[in-house]
Symmetry: C2
Subunit: 336 residues, 2 copies
DNA sequence: CTGTTAGCGCCTTCAG
DNA sequence: CTGAAGGCGCTAACAG
């Protein structure tokens, strides 16, 4: 069923090793024989067997990616396809494929990553999120396997790891400051799972901005939830049970959308009664009513930059490491 | 760096083949030695090398997937992540990984698929869209490689191919009929690239419904565009230049959203002046104003069912083929 | 139930 | 510039 290197060799009257060298475009083969061999390869419809190549040469041409909760609703967050686009754009230029292992919880996730790496299916890995003291990061680092994380690998050796992240503290500060500047007084916050660094950071930014102007950050106006519309809805209701903030910072547009619905259900008008601001600049933001003010985080760029670092790390080796910070940009609309 | 099957064999005082059999949990190995060998595997931290396994056994554990335009904005359509979730949910149960090859146009796409398949990186492929007389389908079919398509593989041997699809003619008919029943008179349509079967079918459904009640389907009220918000916007403007339909069928919610914006820009109120209906029941639909009436197509189910068929096809062989039709469900909201 | 013997298809020294 | 030989790590008959 498969035509092998031997068949080509025979048909071209050369040795298998010569064919192998032609495949790799080795400079030690004369252009003439290259041409001839290539000719034969086409005629026979030869395609090198990737598995054999990998077995012999020790690299797979695959980059593994770990999505958070690929089997969960959360996976539908537009951030991921957008980051994937960036990843895929650069991988395309390098003729590499993307491998990903379905998993539905932390345990499976760990097992999946382990299998990918230890069984030699990938040359490197990109992690699309980071938890605080992330187990996966720790492990990959400890075995010295090439990887890059989209997110901050804190508190692990920041200097020795490849990572790309938004300045999430800054983003948290920026959106809070924006509300303060607009004259909002009592500003609450809805944040995601605080085991994820991105949420920790944005919350921290919020606190910094509040403290800077001497505002208190009461727990009554603070809620934590899973990043989805319902999460935002329920979180907002919870806050409203404690009082009525004049504005609410949400660390994600999904939250914002849910929160807006909750406000509406309680009879509040946005932005008059309550101002809402989000992060991620989802496509939807412009179509909802009122259009949602948000922060562009450049997911495409994050993905693109991440693999660029990873590819370098793979090429250069473990002495290489670098990181890139991508700044968010506030997108003003009408929700606050 | 890697502990191999030989190391385990030596340490456990058995032959490599025994270890191999333990790995595969062969029934021909005594529970006792299995236990012992497993013990040793753990102690040594042994992990089978996937490439070597594949090379020897001829299967990779990978399923390839072909997304349309993974490097394009269109890739951000929520349909794909949702279908992917379904795919990944069942693959997870089978310990298989997903491989995907970045490509940004039809040529690269073909090359990518070819490489994937011919170089033996995958055991099967799922195509996430189908064009009329699809080149990829034709090719996969001709080499008898296991694959499944989400979409209708027309006009190729429907009976001998695995596929899963919505009844898109029915969906087209249903939404058009809905508008007719609501009393709309002049009904236009915005459709996507007519090389894709899904668009052909929905358009066909529209025509059928119109003809059934003796309505003409003037070309003036018909527009074709790329499936995205801007496409819908421009298509709507084009239609509006030819007159004012009382309602417009769009084959995708992205279109609908763009069309609504165009209407608003022209001073029309939805649904009073113009009714709009879409397909896909995107999450957004409920948050826009007015909420968009649409059709749930069950992307998750499409993905899930697709791989189920594919897995069977791989297991049973080329004599197996089957297809599943998944019916859409109208979701009434306020846009018409 | 377990071991032996050949490869799977390619890459990579080492010769020439 | 090209060929021969050995091996990557595992599986799969075939013996026993």
């Amino acid at each position: 069923m498969g035509v092998t290197i031997k068949d080509v060799a025979k048909a071209a009257n050369v040795s298998p090793s010569t064919v192998s060298r032609v495949v790799q475009d080795s400079p030690r083969i004369s252009d003439e024989t290259k041409k001839r061999v290539r000719q034969v390869m086409n005629e026979l419809g030869y395609f090198p067997n990737a598995m054999a190549q990998n077995l012999a040469s020790k690299n797979t041409g695959n980059i593994g990616i770990m999505l958070p909760k690929p089997n969960d609703e959360e996976f539908n967050h537009p951030f991921f396809p957008e980051a994937l686009r960036g990843i895929s754009a650069v991988l395309r230029m390098h003729d590499r494929d993307i491998l990903f292992s379905p998993a539905s919880n932390a345990v499976e996730e760990r097992r999946a990553l382990q299998r990918m790496v230890l069984s030699g299916k990938v040359d490197g890995v990109v992690l699309l999120s980071s938890r605080i003291s992330d187990e996966l990061i720790t492990w990959l680092y400890s075995i010295n396997f090439p990887f890059v994380v989209i997110g901050n690998p804190r508190p692990l050796g920041l200097e020795r790891i490849c990572w790309v992240d938004n300045d999430n503290v800054e983003i948290g500060r920026m959106i809070t400051q924006y509300l303060i500047d607009k004259g909002y007084e009592d500003i609450g916050i809805i944040t995601g799972d605080l085991r994820f660094v991105v949420n920790i950071d944005r919350l921290e930014g919020y606190k910094q901005a509040m403290e800077a102007v001497g505002k208190s950050t009461s727990r009554a106006y603070m809620a934590e939830a899973d990043v989805c519309e319902d999460g935002g809805y329920n979180a907002m209701l919870k806050i409203l049970r404690n009082g009525k903030p004049s504005a609410v910072v949400t660390v994600d547009d999904m939250f914002a959308i849910g929160a807006m619905r909750a406000c509406r259900d309680r009879g509040y008008v946005i932005p008059n009664d309550i101002g809402i601001i989000g992060v991620n600049n989802m496509n939807v933001d412009q179509y909802i009513t009122p259009p949602l003010t948000s922060v562009e985080v450049y997911a495409y760029m994050l993905g693109k930059t991440a693999v660029e670092l990873l590819l370098k790390r793979i090429e250069i080796g473990s002495e290489y490491s670098d990181h890139v910070i991508i700044h968010g940009r506030l997108v003003e609309r009408a929700s606050c």
